[in-house]
Point group: C2
Chain length 192, copies 2
């Protein structure tokens, strides 16, 4: 995609599910911030929303991002500062939606991602078309064992799971987000 | 790709370059093992070769992989055991090539990856064709600031860098490997 588009991503730390499908809150991890910010910056993401209701986790996130943007890290590695500058911290998805609405006066198309096949899916190419038509899109990624049912229902649509030729599809959220962004926004002239 | 293919990947910890393009050896990291093994397992990789000449790093790698395959980790998370079971540790690329040759009597096509545009590139679709024709392929990924010139010259060809619409392409090796495997082996029926 070469046209301007508005694509944000949100990494959800609460509410997500654990292995037993119970609702939990997960901890923010350093590499989720770095890897997904770097992929986001590479593929033209506007804002990478880090969603956690826990005050200490918000402070930890701000401290990591701050080290690499305004702090010492940014002076020795400006590329990392560039990437981590797209991070914004919010307590819940509703706050993200409110702030996105304030920014451009439009409701974003909210898109869930999951390793399971969900109903109401949108294909990657259909979502690319929405972006090209100027629709603002928010992609939701779940940490731990993924988004809760209530978050999936809050989303307008869902992307199909990422799979290879087999049935194994236990990707890290860092890998899944990177692949998803490449499928939507990667320069594909190199493919042929 | 639905046909059987033989694709291995190698994560190189020595020789790689640092920010100043000096040759260094990097440390094995836990998440490079997990994330790339999980992506490898998802996309049908045969063996994920972890290449480091340092004995303590080899032991650390074996200890992490062992915890998740034969140890306690594997009993609580069999999916992780499944992924990390594709890891093999070798001291240098030459050992990997020798062992791949022993396994099926054929020289693999050695493919370098880089965030820079190299000469002698092969497109993703041409490499897919090679895999579909039954050619054994070994993809090389560099840690730190990437593969050294000598490793790139040892490779037969190189894949073009992964980019979005802009010029920023500082992906983590975990993201780059995941995207590269998806481009080569991802199920693309979901794309349309």
């Amino acid at each position: 995609m070469d046209t301007a588009f508005r694509l944000d991503i949100a990494l959800i730390h609460y509410p997500v599910v654990n292995k037993k499908q119970e609702t939990i809150g997960s901890a923010v991890t350093n590499l989720d911030l770095h890897d997904i910010a770097r992929a986001g910056r590479t593929f033209g993401v506007g804002t990478y929303w880090v969603v956690t209701p826990y005050k200490q986790q918000q402070e930890l996130t701000a401290s990591i991002a701050g080290h690499w943007t305004n702090g010492y890290g940014g002076t020795v590695n400006p590329d990392r500062a560039n990437a981590l500058s797209i991070i914004q911290i919010r307590a819940c998805i509703e706050q993200v939606l409110t702030d996105m609405h304030k920014q451009d006066g439009k409701e974003p198309l909210v898109v869930a991602t999951s390793a399971s096949q969900l109903v109401a899916t949108i294909s990657y190419s259909a979502l690319q078309s929405e972006l090209q038509k100027g629709r603002t899109v928010l992609l939701l990624f779940g940490t731990a064992w993924g988004l809760t049912q209530e978050v999936i229902e809050l989303a307008d649509v869902a992307l199909p799971p990422i799979t290879g030729s087999g049935t194994y599809n236990h990707l890290s959220v860092r890998s899944a987000a990177s692949i998803c962004l490449d499928r939507l926004c990667g320069h594909r002239e190199n493919m042929v």
